[in-house]
Symmetry: C2
Subunit: 199 residues, 2 copies
């Protein structure tokens, strides 16, 4: 039904996770309403994104520099490191804006079933980062509550066992603004287990 | 917060109507997961879309040829023409697949307030298309039920007044699958006015 070039554009939009056939059609048709200049810069921006962005050599976060702005920010605590699965988590934390430490991006989670072992993700450089400043350091594990997340959390906890580094994880519980009636039972069990005394 | 190239990509995605800040962020971040090849073809497809697509010289529909496949399809009725506002409407009709005539794309609606007059939209070529074959011809006006749509409908109705061409418009009424309780009163009035006897 569509001209071939339009079908190609629709197929490209469908490659984006979360964009279905209908949205892809709508987006591709909308593209035609943009100016040629806008389309050229759109096309260029997509290419540049892939080309210019690399991993920060310190924390593994997405950046267009050698060292990301967070790692080079001297006002952030050097000895408070939040370990996350990927750069998307870093952006989420930065949006909330309350974390004053630095990050360490694993770029994956341990999953032996999928052939991903500790050496395949960015763990060893985390040890190096904390070498010599174990005292007063804290590593916060902010990984998702899945089998892979738990496995990775336990693994990292274990390698820090004999070092003087405090290892913590995010609290589990009821998300803000959610009606308890609609909550799944595992989350509710967890919230009950981790209950805090009101002081 | 985001690297500059990523901000540029987000801005580009936001240019698509219906894509908000949040979706644009999500899409731009997803782009990074695609292969370089996919991104190159994505960028290229966007450009090609704008470059290769033109208007059919007969009906004004979007096409990558001089004459669109619908106009060159001899199995479709030459003397049954559905007049639509833009190429998106043509795609909508073609999806339902039940229309066996041809189209005429106005590429706009008469709107004196916005400085759009009859000569600014694709009306004159409609008259030319039907010249000499007025008998047995029908023009179906499928324009949206807004002030501009009604104005354009009335205008076209008027120019065909003294010709032997049947001019009709789509029926207004209750959309399929919609609960009457949730309908606006104008639609309900229209459905009542245009009621059909059950035979």
């Amino acid at each position: 039904m569509y001209p071939e070039v339009l079908n190609d554009a629709i197929a490209s939009f469908e490659k984006i996770p979360g964009v279905g056939k209908k949205s892809a059609e709508r987006y591709a048709l909308s593209i035609l309403d943009l100016s040629e200049e806008d389309i050229d810069s759109f096309a260029n921006n997509l290419k540049q994104c892939k080309k210019k962005l690399t991993r920060c050599i310190i924390c593994g976060h997405l950046t267009d520099k050698e060292v990301c702005p967070i790692c080079s920010d001297s006002s952030r605590k050097e000895n408070l490191i939040c370990v996350v699965e990927d750069y998307k988590s870093v952006f989420m934390f930065e949006k909330s804006g309350s974390f004053e430490g630095k990050y360490h991006v694993l770029n994956g989670l341990i999953s032996p079933m999928d052939g991903i072992f500790p050496e395949d993700i960015n763990i060893s450089s985390l040890l190096e980062r904390l070498k010599g400043k174990e005292k007063n350091s804290e590593v916060i594990l902010a990984l998702k509550p899945s089998i892979e997340g738990e496995t990775t959390t336990l693994y990292i906890k274990k390698i820090f066992e004999n070092k003087k580094i405090k290892v913590s994880r995010l609290s589990y519980g009821i998300p803000m603004g959610v009606d308890i009636d609609y909550l799944d039972s595992i989350t509710l069990d967890r919230a009950l287990l981790d209950r805090k005394e009101i002081s």
